[in-house]
Amino acid sequence: MLSARKISTMSSEVLNLSRKLLCTFGTSPASIAFRRSTGITNGIKKFTFPPNHEIYSDFNRIMVCSIKPFSTKSDATTSDAGEASSLIDDEFQPLDVIRSRSFRRTQRKRREKREVPPPRYLKMSTDQDWPSVWPTAKTFHPASVPLPLHQGYVEPGNRSPPNKFANLELMKIPNFLHLTPPAIKRHCEAIKKFCTPWPEELKDEYVLESLFPIEVISNDYCHSSPSIRDPKGRIVTLRVKLSHLNLDEHAKDKFLRLVGERYDQNTDELTLVTDCCPLKKQNYDYAMYLLTAVYHESWNKESWEDDKSELDAAKYEWDGSRSQKVLEQLLEPTALESNKNLIEQYKNTVTSIHDEGENTKLLSEYGNTVRQLLNLPTPEASSATSS
């Protein structure tokens, strides 16, 4: 291809030459003809000598005519030499009154195309140290990553998924090239010197729980970007078993009422989740404060707590309840005396029905007790005489 430099040098050459010619040789037709016949070689395009008065205007035309339009097709057959020879052969150049497109195209200064070197990954060795190549989170850079990736959905047919160069989808993915397993290992090794081993004494769960009853849980979040900030990182969860807290009956009842749903009966655990403050430390402080406050409050007994009615009671109290009164009415005094055991049993069943919740088993126990109290046969007895 003919570079712009070449054209410009050529035109300057033309200019110089023509200037020289004009200065030295003059403009007589004879001299013109003489020069023409000798033929000036050395890569100079052919030009004509127009009449004197039009010399300036024709300089432009010289430039124009001297540069034959190239074809943009990179034909192997076309070459500069061939072009030059064909031009040399022509007698007259056609005068382009109408400035053709080709002229414009060639006149435009072609931007110099910078030579792009081949991608870097071709020179990488297969046993290189990858974490040094990709130390931090970085957008995907196809020339630095030696993997022949393809991404893109294509209809099953003739096309293949696009390769990694200029693949936006690959760039969109937050990649983890900076966190390959060897890299993570190195991180861990680097952090290890700040860590101490887990103490032997605390290997036992029971000991651990008794020495450290409060469990504080918080999360840290890392992204593929360098930032470690995440709003979820401020949440702090505090877990403690109520058996580790010193609460008497009243205190425990009040504690449970204050705490509500945060208490899990099955595991006897209180879970406090705090996220109202923006910082983790603040949330942690608040959680500890909350626990202390609830604990101490539950030991306080307010005057209005005595107004608690039967309905609010957490547990069912049989003694002094209506149930007891009715029973006393029902049974004769002698019966009351002799059936102390039964009454005890009755009391237990009624209490458990109220406390634990009803189920058929408890109910049948209750039924049996009542039957015994009222001297009625039990259901087993009725079916005992089956044939």
Binding site: R322, L330, G367, L374, P377, S383
Partner: protein, 401 residues
């Protein structure tokens, strides 16, 4: 839930894969009642006991059907919901009244037999899953009570008083109370049908004079039936008559002049708000402001002797929000529990494997199950599983369209 049934298609077997519709959309075969044997006294097959006197029923008859005499049935049950509606319809078709003898029934019978009538009344509470047979057992206890010459106070379905009541009027005699008119009249009519003979026989008389209004008086010493008849003729006073009647019966039973059996179905309906009863000022009337409630509540107390109280708690008696559990403590609420405690709870479960097969045998014998595969083992298994051995579901499955 208002038990509102109509006959449905005979049960089909092995439905096609993609049909998601229930069985009800299939065949329309009807059982021809002409082919049904009308002689209920025959003991055809193992599943039918020949015993008709409930007093003599015992474990030998467990899992078998016993039939109730037609005239007794007419007297006790037909008019007024003695048995559930579906069962009564079935009896019409089958032309006989057969009841399955089940364990809770025998248990109850035994307890009632063993009871000391000189002691305060014992309350029995039947509870169980929906459609497991509580009302049936209650109904068959009525038969037993009748045979044993108890005076029956049979209140068939209490939500009829608290939810589906036909007419409520403010009470004339009590301040702030409301009376049921039609319901009370119906009850009294039935009471009369059930107990007129016995009352005559025992010659129970009023202990004092009752003045219903300025001009209407029931003198002391008149037969209790007079109260009943007054109530029937004067709907305005009907609930009051009920109340008085109950009081009298309680007093008379305590004096050992008679035995009373109180049967009430769906008693837990009394302790919940009656959303549908609105007073004159369009405000909801709480149950405690109903005379009928007062009357019934007194019956369940233990301050009388010489009787027995058999009651069912059913979660269907309540609104949809209160149907978490089928157990008495939940259903009776605090108030009800305190009223009934201590009581004898009797659980009525779904059928056992033997009982359900017996019922299927009975249906087959009555030619109710027309499908050829119904009598095969696979058919029976299918019926058993689809109904999960629940008596009502089985009945629904076998009903015709």
């Amino acid at each position: 839930m208002f038990r509102n049934f109509h006959f449905r298609a005979v049960k089909t077997f092995a439905r096609p894969l993609n049909s998601k519709k229930s069985l009800k959309s299939e065949n329309k075969l009807f059982c021809s009642s002409a082919s049904v044997t009308s002689n209920s006294q025959e003991s055809s097959g193992f599943f039918k006991a020949s015993e008709t006197n409930p007093v003599h029923l015992n474990e030998k008859h467990l899992g078998r059907f016993y039939s109730i005499d037609n005239d007794i049935y007419q007297k006790l049950y037909v008019q007024y919901h003695g048995f559930p509606l579906e069962y009564r319809e079935q009896c019409k078709v089958f032309r006989e009244q057969c009841v399955l003898v089940r364990k809770p029934y025998l248990d109850l019978k035994r307890c009632v037999d063993a009871m000391d009538l000189k002691k305060p009344v014992v309350r029995f509470v039947l509870h169980g899953a929906d459609g497991s047979g509580k009302s049936m057992i209650l109904g068959s206890m009525a038969h037993y009570g009748y045979t044993k010459e108890f005076i029956l106070i049979h209140i068939p379905w209490i939500p009829l008083w608290t939810r589906y009541c036909k007419e409520i009027v403010p009470s004339t005699t009590r301040e702030g109370f409301h009376d049921h008119t039609i319901n009370a009249v119906q009850f009294l009519t039935n009471f009369k049908t059930q107990n007129a003979e016995l009352l005559q026989k025992l010659n129970l008389v009023t202990s004092k004079e009752y003045q219903w209004s300025k001009r209407e008086v029931t003198e002391q010493g008149s037969n209790l039936l007079a109260i009943v008849e007054h109530g029937i003729s004067r709907p305005v006073h009907a609930t009051e008559c009920m109340y008085t009647l109950f009081k009298e019966l309680k007093a008379q039973s305590s004096e050992e002049k008679c035995k009373t059996m109180v049967l009430a179905d769906g008693v837990n309906g009394l302790f919940y708000d009656c959303k549908w009863i609105k007073g004159a000022d369009r405000k909801m009337v709480p149950p405690s402001n109903l005379t009928a409630y007062e009357a019934m509540k007194d019956l369940f107390k233990t301050d009388w002797k010489g009787g027995v109280v058999i009651v069912t708690v059913d979660r269907i008696a309540l609104d949809l929000e209160f149907r978490e559990s089928t157990l008495p403590r939940y259903l009776l609420k605090k108030e009800g529990w305190e009223l009934f405690d201590p009581f004898v709870p009797i659980e009525v479960t779904n059928y056992t494997a033997q009982e359900i097969q017996t019922t299927i045998d009975y249906y087959l014998e009555r030619k109710w199950l027309q499908h050829p595969a119904a009598s095969t083992e696979e058919g029976r298994l299918e019926l058993e599983y689809l109904s999960t051995r629940n008596p009502r579901t089985l009945m629904e499955l076998c009903n015709s369209r």
